[in-house]
Symmetry: D2
Subunit: 342 residues, 4 copies
Amino acid sequence: MLSFESDYIQGAHPEILKRMTETNLDPHPGYGTDDICASARKKIREACGCPEADVSFLVGGTQANSTVISALLAGYEGVISAETGHIGTHEAGAVEATGHKVLCLPEHDGKISADELAAYLDGFYADGTHEHMVIPGMVYVSHPTEYGSLYSLAELEAVASVCRARGLSLFLDGARLGYGLMSRETDVTLPDIARLCDAFYIGGTKVGALFGEAVVFPKGQPKHFMTTTKQHGALLAKGWLLGLQFDTLFTDGLYFRIAAHAIDMAEKMKKIFSDCGIPFYRHSPTNQQFVVLSTETARKLAASVAFTPWGPHGSDAVIARFVTSWATTDEDLDRLSELLSW
Amino acid sequence: MLSFESDYIQGAHPEILKRMTETNLDPHPGYGTDDICASARKKIREACGCPEADVSFLVGGTQANSTVISALLAGYEGVISAETGHIGTHEAGAVEATGHKVLCLPEHDGKISADELAAYLDGFYADGTHEHMVIPGMVYVSHPTEYGSLYSLAELEAVASVCRARGLSLFLDGARLGYGLMSRETDVTLPDIARLCDAFYIGGTKVGALFGEAVVFPKGQPKHFMTTTKQHGALLAKGWLLGLQFDTLFTDGLYFRIAAHAIDMAEKMKKIFSDCGIPFYRHSPTNQQFVVLSTETARKLAASVAFTPWGPHGSDAVIARFVTSWATTDEDLDRLSELLSW
Amino acid sequence: MLSFESDYIQGAHPEILKRMTETNLDPHPGYGTDDICASARKKIREACGCPEADVSFLVGGTQANSTVISALLAGYEGVISAETGHIGTHEAGAVEATGHKVLCLPEHDGKISADELAAYLDGFYADGTHEHMVIPGMVYVSHPTEYGSLYSLAELEAVASVCRARGLSLFLDGARLGYGLMSRETDVTLPDIARLCDAFYIGGTKVGALFGEAVVFPKGQPKHFMTTTKQHGALLAKGWLLGLQFDTLFTDGLYFRIAAHAIDMAEKMKKIFSDCGIPFYRHSPTNQQFVVLSTETARKLAASVAFTPWGPHGSDAVIARFVTSWATTDEDLDRLSELLSW
Amino acid sequence: MLSFESDYIQGAHPEILKRMTETNLDPHPGYGTDDICASARKKIREACGCPEADVSFLVGGTQANSTVISALLAGYEGVISAETGHIGTHEAGAVEATGHKVLCLPEHDGKISADELAAYLDGFYADGTHEHMVIPGMVYVSHPTEYGSLYSLAELEAVASVCRARGLSLFLDGARLGYGLMSRETDVTLPDIARLCDAFYIGGTKVGALFGEAVVFPKGQPKHFMTTTKQHGALLAKGWLLGLQFDTLFTDGLYFRIAAHAIDMAEKMKKIFSDCGIPFYRHSPTNQQFVVLSTETARKLAASVAFTPWGPHGSDAVIARFVTSWATTDEDLDRLSELLSW
């Protein structure tokens, strides 16, 4: 069945499986101490313009989020997030399970505003009882956000500037980072992110890898981060499998090329929806598109194409998410177009 | 370089990579809700002789241990383990990170004794202050153990019987389960384990999979175990990758055949060591072999073959671990034999 | 200096100190296993009309909240609270430190609405991704609330009914329970609370005790609750000190009499504010009163009387909290009246 | 009934209750921000010879231990303790509940040896797999120990020296510190402890206070320690009650005088046991005495005097703990003597 359900419905870019197969029986030391991981780290540092960065490879996003957040926070600290942030909604309380509160700010198109962040921090420290409250220690942003939106460079710099001035660290969840970097509407580059954040990850699972997220600490990783990773059950025994994937993705710009393809497919998809008169729920410059379908259309469509229901919209319509990826083809979109022409 | 460093130095059985490649672009629903996972679960239930079992697929061992243990324990409970148990030594405090104490019993060849377990529990409840102490809620055993040894059926039944009588659950860490089941010295079968344990896992990472552990709850899984798994960062987005591996391993007995091969290789390796007059540190009927090497031999050997140093042995010798796996070849052992004949 | 800063600015009702002094050198067994605790438990059970209740004595409110909440929740569950609930605001993340998320509902006068609770739960289970979210396991209400307001019996029954229908437990934070029970505007009795809640506590610290909260489990306490209490550092060695205080408070209705006195004082205080034309920020039928003071008045007043600033109100006024207690005297209020007549 | 069950069977030194009664209705700000706490902190700093120390007042020992330990450890670190240490045995897993492992060293009379500590740390860092293990971050010692024994100054300096050289912090549990400082066999002073430790507490609960432990950080407390304390449910609302007790105890040397009295009583008790031919289980220079009683004697004695059974001793005898305190009288001992003369 045709599926736009998410960007993690298929395996990996064929180059990755090919290389995995070719090197399958070569022995490697475990836990990311091998040469392929070293090579992948080097290429990522170069892509980030950040020679002193530490890079670790973890398996998935929730794991990366809770491991990094708990590694960077003191026990009395919490992490600030937009109310729609993945860590506060769809990670089953993984951050709280490590003992930390997620402190919510209002979302604007899935993003937090630097001004509201500053106002929150001003208010917090002005409150005479703040020693009885969770101390804000970090800001979490997702880029692209859960709604496919993007911080502009000015917005990200403003958030980073507030963080720096108040001593908070800034962590960017880049589960779909490739799609953000290759959006036609962004002015944010990978070196910008490395310059502005204390930690971020380059998503692989949703951008061409079988699985894997490359966690980058531009200014160096927290002490004993490998032990912390192990403690969180996040240290893959066959670590070279992660290195191999990122080494492949960061050779000859593969990561960026396949992300750009997904953006092309998303733009084509947007045109199809527009042409059919299907309204957008939110504007998204990346690979996740949110449209409003009449209940009837949604029902009919669901018989032939998989998408994600995103909640009701008024009494007779629903919000639906359609996602492209590195693996979406022109044929997939042609079929979608046909289905919508019914 | 020749390597007997561990059983997770190479990728996956070629059948797995082949199938992964063939199905690479097929879309699947996420998080283990797909048909391949369903098929793998069915095959595992059959192999366990346990039609009502719940089966979940997790990525790695530490992750499986801390997720299952915390899912089964109440907040005031701890888990009993041999002092050499992996959870108490080489998992960076993953169990404690979920709030639970590992309660140690003496090890006998890496195993706990049912009698000592019973005596410990008797003593605990006889102690008038026991409400001030961590309540024992579960017994953890590894099979094979960290020393390659195995519980006999009688031993495992005795431990299970103590657990049942006192209301403790029994959890078996089967990271290397295949090698235990195919040992020439075991009388324990997979249905025995399913009959005796409340939870256990069938290790894939070390037995032919790229990665993955099949967690089995013979009597049904704890409520909301999927949410617990997500909370622990242990829910793989592309869950079918795990299902595919176990479905392959449990088709036509592949899991057992490749484990039996590793045992054949281990027996051959034992003979090589014996023939060279190299003494064993402990007797092991599985794929991990522990020998005593003079410092000189260890140094020379290390230039040509990778193995794991396991600590000093007296003043001029070391304990060394050599491990075979599904991927070990006769040629590997011939080369080892040559090297030792120097 | 005159102080209406809170209801925990003074020691204990003199009867308590008198009895503490009289029995000071009598030996007692520790940890609440003594006869005085037994007597206090009996009296509390009677006052609750609940002969099968378990009663434990803890030292303070945050401690009681995090101990009870974590004892009643499964690892994957969170606790629902009004956004103004003490556990989510002024307990420094104590609940999250035990691994659980506080799930916020809108506050209405400091209370949650049963309808909104039901709608939240409906929406939660209707969401196809809910297994990726924190499962709601308990509802927390404070009574009186942080704003001095009270649930009516109908409101509390409605909340309890939703909880019962969905399998959530209901926990009532009664840090100021006495003042709620003796309010002139309440129809909720202690037996009502015992009938409707799975757990609640009768606040002592703010209602005549030196310190102490009596945690009541009307249907029996969770297994090994003493061990859980110890684990949370909440088991007082000299437990009889807590029993003695509650035994005194629940002898001849002392708890209710002193709470009624505080309510009389609050009503007198309300009249003083009204007579001076000082507006109320919120209506409160209990011992906490919230008024709006011009910045000028607040500044002048602060020189002679202690109260709690509760944040700004517009550009030239502040919200101020004034609290009466069991220890407030007519003279205190006469002085306040004089100060306000300036 | 005559009781030597523990040193927390009675209330407080009468001076404390007198002062509590006298100041009962004086208003104070909460949470330890009052003048009496300030005065008590000053006196404790002076007694420690440590003008820059931070002093916090917590309610009980388990609470103090878990709060301080988790405040000083990084997430990946554990705390080293003698296998008989209170944190590892009788605190219901309070340290593990904060996510940290207790790493056990052998006990020698309840103490750890600096040489064994150094050897453990050497071995740890020499182990190539140590990044997979809990990193030792702190040493916990109790003084007096759970067996009443004491570190000599040389022993404590040796332990502190190992800690300093390896970057571990040193924490001393002084639940019975007064009795240790006034022992006739000690050369350790309070300023010695303040000089050698990173944190310690001066026990009040067992040495004349109603309740309370004064936590001292000689080199300054961890950032936001008040918030950490609140998060652990360990911040007493009426903090001045703790300050008042320690201010009284540290006025005119009361703490030391009453501890010296308990030591006098213990020496007298030892003579009584000796004179009756009752053997000691261990030598103790402090207020806890461990003797071996025949089962028959123990049974007869238990009818008239409370003591703590400490486990069996051979087949027909038991170990029994008898404890003196600030409140023990000559009459108590005369009665014990009579009972033993039966």
